[in-house]
Symmetry: C2
Subunit: 414 residues, 2 copies
């Protein structure tokens, strides 16, 4: 008997009607002869409402009471999974709901952002052996010291893919409110198309670069354990969606550039610390202080000036800007730097593909297209699987459209 | 019957004795019940000698006579493969040598650096069906207009992996003069160890970052067609070497950083064009001119100055520096830039792994280790699978050793 893991996000279980619709879909899969494990998020905006509730009780719950925040937040999935279990039983299938603890999703101790260490799936296997549909709470786990934890961003997808890995599932289906993974955001690029297949690496890169549909950490687990992941709409019954898998590219040509798509991440900021002494100490101190404040740094660029002084440029999330500026200004003063300035309102647009190594014309082709579209570029990042351009947020559409056209993304074969 | 492709580089077939040793190894594999396809490079320094010979005949053979250069160079593998075929037949196995053209390795038209478009392997399959060991010339192909081409850097490995892909080989064995892929260069890092397995992606990144053992383009084909590649010493019989494959990481922990190793690429240079007008046109013109001159640009970093002018920094190979400087200086003058300066003698050291996305402490940990080791960093590049540091060439050992220790690369499990 093949096993499928199906994950439904908050929108998919956002109302009693939708929960009943999900139940029918799950029962259908069971009826087609699959064992089914379902992972659910909290209904609709439940988690946000609980966060607001906490804020009304205490000024800084996340920092002051992380353990109790996790206790609070994990109630959201309990509600959704209990209701879904009822609806499934009404459809005539046996169902049982399990918390992260009951499902033995073992995490580290980091409240509000735990990482999964392992899953001891004996209980789930037992329930499956009893022909039950097992509903597991997404987003939550239990530490080795028996504390309730939540997984942070992308948590429910991560639960689903981790379960699929451990249970050796045939596939992990992620039901969302979009048709699949597009070559670019279809609201911004009219000729964007749904990719039928996408490789794990390209998907990790797209997700890390701002594609909202899935979180990169869930895709990373898929890649590590080779779990095929399907992304499809929970509101349509007739479609294929996008299959994320280890892709064997048997299409000619054998070598050369194979581009997958574009992703963009708004809310980027750039901070430049100017006139630092030309030593490693200054840059290291800044990075250590930012890491200690858990400011995530995307790119870090040192540059030497003709006068011997050094400039250090970091790109970060806009939300971290006040904290990062404060840290940079303090350390710049301490170390005799000249000034700190920043630029906000930036969006990072990333072109993802493989075979970029040793392709000298790629930069030129991209820049020529952007120049023609009237886009200015404030920063560039590169790897063997991607090139990112930092542009003004108001130019995001022009950037996506011109790159989509320049690299023929609308005409691909998948 | 399983098929194995075995590739022997120039050193492995560098003398008559070595050719006989290779013949015995090939016959052994055949004796163990494998069908064997062998790919050979030219003997020892034959190719270099032919290039020197051409230089003695005509001043600039590569540019003026690319077609004839290919005709000249492809004689090198003919010699090696004919001799190897004789030696194999002396061992008692049937063998036949095939040129790139006879083996129908179809490439584009780029002399001295062609890319493989497809392989029409009918002839090879026929010969295999007649129980022959097939020896194919590495590094060479034929264009659709029947011109002889060579594949450029990494050409023989590329031939071998492409054949393994098309023939659906069980494995492609790359025989070299080292024991396998190390976590870092063992001559520089005493506790570097041989990796038993490495994932395609990590290997592409290591190879792109300077690991000399394999060229990234060959690994890319392996990844695209899922061909397991084994790298092992041709001078030892007793070892496992390193298997490059699609790795399923079933080790705990399920999430987090998984680091593979370090690679370094010497001969890097940095060119900075200062005081450009703050427009896209300047940067685009520079990149287009560099691409037209086939200068490969590794990283490209624009930075805005407080006075409104812009600086553009590119990293390139030192060998391209005179040409790049000339182009940058000419365009800088044309566009009212202030000056162009460059820094040479740089080495790029790259840390390769997965799960770096959203790991805020990685930069700090690396920089702290480098600071403690007295290493200054002149540039940094990042992707979701790597971080690169541009350091002074004289500090390469300290850089490798301190990063190897800071990230516990000597203690990994594979």
């Amino acid at each position: 008997m093949t096993l499928v893991v199906q994950k439904f996000g908050g929108t998919s279980v956002g109302s009693p009607e939708r929960i009943r619709a999900v139940a029918r879909r799950v029962c259908d899969a069971k009826g087609h002869g699959h064992d089914v494990v379902v992972v659910v998020s909290a209904m609709g905006h439940t988690t946000d409402e609980l966060v607001t509730l906490a804020a009304q009780v205490t000024p800084d719950a996340r920092r002051s009471h992380p353990r109790e925040m996790d206790m609070l937040l994990t109630s959201g999935e309990r509600i959704a999974m209990a209701l879904l279990a009822m609806a499934i039983r009404d459809c005539g299938s046996e169902a049982i709901s399990l918390t992260g603890s009951q499902a033995a999703i073992i995490t580290d101790n980091t409240h509000m952002g735990a990482r999964i260490l392992e899953v001891r799936a004996d209980r789930i296997r037992e329930e499956i052996a009893h022909q039950r549909i097992v509903i597991v709470a997404g987003f939550q786990g239990i530490s080795r010291s028996k504390e309730v934890t939540t997984l942070g961003r992308g948590g429910s997808d991560t639960t689903a893919v981790a379960l699929a890995a451990v249970l050796d599932a045939e596939r992990c289906d992620i039901f969302t409110d979009v048709e699949g993974i597009f070559t670019a955001d279809p609201r911004r690029v009219p000729d964007a198309r749904v990719l039928r297949e996408v490789d794990y690496d390209d998907m990790v890169e797209l997700a890390s670069s701002g594609a909202q549909v899935m979180h990169p950490r869930a895709v990373e687990i898929g890649a590590r354990y080779n779990v095929p992941i399907r992304v499809l709409s929970s509101f349509r019954n007739d479609e294929h969606g996008t299959l994320i898998l280890r892709r064997t590219r048997t299409m000619a040509p054998m070598e050369g550039l194979v581009l997958t798509g574009l992703a963009s991440a708004a809310g980027q900021a750039k901070v430049t610390v100017r006139g630092l002494p030309p030593s490693m100490e200054a840059m290291t101190k800044i990075m250590s202080a930012l890491a200690a404040a858990t400011v995530s740094v995307d790119t870090l660029t040192p540059a030497d000036r003709p006068d011997g002084r050094r400039e250090v440029q970091v790109t970060i999330h806009e939300a971290d800007l006040p904290q990062a500026t404060e840290i940079c200004e303090r350390l710049s003063k301490e170390m005799g730097g000249e000034s700190v300035d920043s630029k906000t309102g930036l969006t990072k647009v990333t072109l993802v593909g493989s075979g970029m190594t040793g392709m000298p014309g790629v930069y030129a082709r991209a820049l020529e297209a952007l120049l023609a579209a009237g886009v200015d570029v404030h920063g560039i990042g590169t790897s063997s699987v991607s090139i990112s351009f930092l542009v003004d947020a108001g130019k995001e559409d022009q950037t996506l459209q011109s790159l989509h056209a320049a690299f023929d993304l609308g005409k691909g074969s998948t």
